[in-house]
């Protein structure tokens, strides 16, 4: 669907995008994730033909975005970071203008605009001046504009920035529903958003593609150890003895509670094998109750921080076994670095899923 090969963009002496290679398959929602200034917008601008690359090529369904611009652009609907709206027009006038500019045939123009206004829920503001509309509506009109001409690919640059939480949820729902019928690429620096929406995450850092995989695989791949967090009613000695029979346990941290005789235990293993079942039976054998048990995997946020931190970049080989359709992309040379990923430097593992709310809250 989209082939990006060795894409490089240099502004003066600043390298915004460096040797980016990936491919996008149809029918998925892709998320470009990266800190501000990572090169997400630049990449999207190049893919959509708004910006010329310094080197490399972009093919949309085989059409070069530069050489066969008109054919390629017909396949793409683009919502830039700031919705490109003519403030002096009403919603319907604006959409009609876009439809005509995209050469939607006259006979299907009004039906299509009607449909799209329905999908994006902007019918109630169809006759109002865009200038007087709220940011949420403008964003919707921006998305509606991208949908006009029924392109197969929808590219959305930070579609939820500057919206209130309710609007964010609505826009996400909209994107999700678009994902059923279109290939969607969206960019964001909000982890929870990408995680919730996207089938495949592409993490970009300083103009390089550092990871490309499904959210689950990214978490799995970067979990060096599978640890189990327990709350038990047992003494330290009993606990250590019970767990000593389990293979591969490297470290046991016991922290007794002062009040109710329970203790928090963290069991770390070397392998990636889930040991929770064995832990359960170990405590069964000594007839001590486990009050709570939690499998600790590294959260996506940890992966993200690790990949985009300035200190080091991961060895790309670790990502080789990603989702099948992306094995090609994962071979991308971006982020290839001689530095080995040292487990010692990894951020502390956190219980899965806890960070979603926080990450979002910080962005508002």
């Amino acid at each position: 669907m989209i082939e990006v090969r060795n894409l490089t963009k240099i502004y003066g002496d600043h390298v915004a995008v460096s040797n980016l290679t990936f491919s996008i398959q149809s029918g998925h929602i892709y998320g470009f994730l990266g800190p501000n200034g990572a090169g997400k917008s630049t990449t999207m601008n190049i893919i959509t033909g708004c910006l010329a690359q310094t080197s490399g090529e972009v093919l949309i369904n085989g059409y070069d975005i530069f050489e066969e611009a008109e054919k390629a652009k017909k396949l793409i609907g683009y919502l830039p970071e700031e919705p490109p709206l003519y403030q002096d027009m009403t919603t319907i006038e604006y959409l009609d203008f876009v439809a005509r500019a995209k050469r939607v045939p006259k006979w299907e123009r009004s039906d299509q605009i009607y449909d799209i206004m329905q999908t994006t829920q902007i019918k109630s503001v169809s006759n109002r001046l865009i200038r007087n509309l709220s940011k949420g509506y403008r964003q919707r009109i921006g998305i509606a504009q991208a949908l006009i001409g029924r392109p197969e690919i929808i590219i959305l640059d930070e579609p939820t920035v500057g919206l209130d939480p309710k609007q964010i949820i609505e826009i996400r729902e909209l994107i999700k529903s678009l994902g059923k019928t279109h290939t969607v690429i969206l960019s964001s620096h909000i982890l929870s958003e990408v995680r919730a929406l996207c089938d495949i995450i592409m993490i970009i850092s300083r103009g390089r593609l550092v990871a490309c995989d499904t959210p689950e695989n990214l978490e799995k791949l970067f979990t060096g150890t599978a640890s189990v967090e327990l709350r038990v009613k047992a003494s330290e000695l009993e606990t250590r003895r019970a767990l000593s029979h389990i293979e591969g346990v490297t470290q046991i941290t016991y922290k007794a509670s002062e009040t109710d005789g329970t203790a928090d235990v963290l069991v770390e293993t070397e392998g990636k094998e889930d040991i929770s079942e064995k832990v359960f039976f170990a405590f069964c054998d000594i007839r001590k109750p486990i009050l709570r048990m939690n499998l600790v995997t590294k959260s996506l946020e940890d992966v993200f921080i690790e990949l985009t931190s300035d200190k080091k970049e991961p060895d790309f080989e670790t990502l080789g076994g990603g989702a099948e359709e992306d094995s090609e992309a994962a071979d991308a040379p971006a982020g290839r670095d001689d530095e080995e990923k040292g487990p010692g430097k990894e951020p502390a593992p956190r219980p899965d899923g806890n960070i979603i709310g926080d990450a979002e809250g910080n962005e508002e």
Binding site: Y11, N45, T48, G49, C50, L51, A52, A69, E70, K71, K73, K74, I76, Y78, P80, E82, P84, L85, Y86, Q87, D88, M89, E93, F97, V98, R100, A101, K102, R103, Q145, G149
Partner: protein, 287 residues
């Protein structure tokens, strides 16, 4: 292209721009018709156009200042770039929209000679060819203004620069009469002009080497010509200035001459600046 044209045209008449432009132009036509025709019992409409051509200095920048710069400012250029439409079509759409805004008052002007005919003798050919030249002059100046608008994000800057450009164009033929027409003076002026041109090329293309080579080559040719045929330089610079002046070309029509080369010249200036505007927009993608 039609979509862009329609949008731009609507934008002109949704705000005050289109109306103010027409009103201002027609106001001056009215005033000058009263003074030159009605008060002095002359039916020569071309005199009216001749005297009021300076109005272009004010109304053309007013018309063209937002043409491209506004898109850049409100980021709608991103939309235009992502449309399946070539940049030249976008630029042409915008250009023709403003031409239509100019054509509206010009069409109303066409009524004046008929009114004057009822009360005196009139040379229709001169009157209408002057109106045509007036329109073409405006069309070329719009192209210049559009190019200037494409180089900046600020409408104010675009308006001021366009005003200066038209001002220089307006006065250059008068000023040319005061310039020394000796061959040395012309040579020096031409040499400086070449340097300026090279500087502009360097700024636009960011290719220093090319500009320097071009400048040296042109200067060498000039020096060679001065050495071999100094007579060429006699009065050359003033006549070149006059030759470049768009207003000077317009005055020929007022004088009763239907000058085809001038029509070609107007068309060429328009095309060159439309081309430059397209290039200026394309260049922005490369930054």
């Amino acid at each position: 292209m039609r979509a862009i044209l329609d949008r731009e045209l609507k934008a002109y008449f949704r705000g005050p721009t289109g109306y103010v432009f027409s009103a201002f132009l027609l106001l001056f036509v009215g005033i000058y018709t009263m003074v030159y025709n009605l008060k002095s019992y002359l039916a020569n409409f071309e005199y009216v156009l001749d005297s009021m051509s300076f109005v272009f200095m004010i109304i053309i920048p007013f018309l063209t200042m937002r043409m491209i710069s506004e898109d850049r400012k409100q980021k709608t250029d991103q939309l235009l770039y992502s449309l399946p439409m070539s940049t030249s079509k976008i630029v042409l759409g915008k250009y023709f929209a403003s031409l239509l805004v100019l054509a509206l008052p010009t069409a109303i002007m066409c009524v004046y000679p008929i009114i004057l005919y009822m009360y005196g003798t009139i040379n229709f050919l001169t009157a209408y060819s002057s109106i045509l030249a007036f329109f073409l002059l405006g069309a070329s100046l719009i192209a210049v203004g559009m190019f200037i608008s494409s180089t900046t994000e600020s409408q104010v800057v675009a308006a001021i620069l366009s005003f200066i450009a038209i001002l220089v164009n307006f006065f250059v033929s008068d000023l040319a009469n005061f310039i020394s027409s000796s061959s040395t003076a012309s040579f020096i002026a031409m040499a400086i002009a070449v340097l300026l041109l090279a500087l502009i090329i360097k700024i636009l293309t960011k290719n220093g080497l090319f500009a320097v080579i071009l400048a040296i080559a042109c200067e060498a040719v000039l020096a060679l010509l001065l050495y071999t045929k100094p007579a060429i330089f006699e009065g050359l610079f003033p006549s070149i200035l006059k030759g470049f002046s768009l207003f000077e070309r317009f005055y020929r029509f007022v004088g009763g001459m239907f000058d085809l080369t001038s029509i070609v010249y107007f068309a060429m200036v328009s095309m060159i600046f439309i081309y430059l505007t397209v290039q200026s927009l394309e260049k922005r993608r490369w930054n």
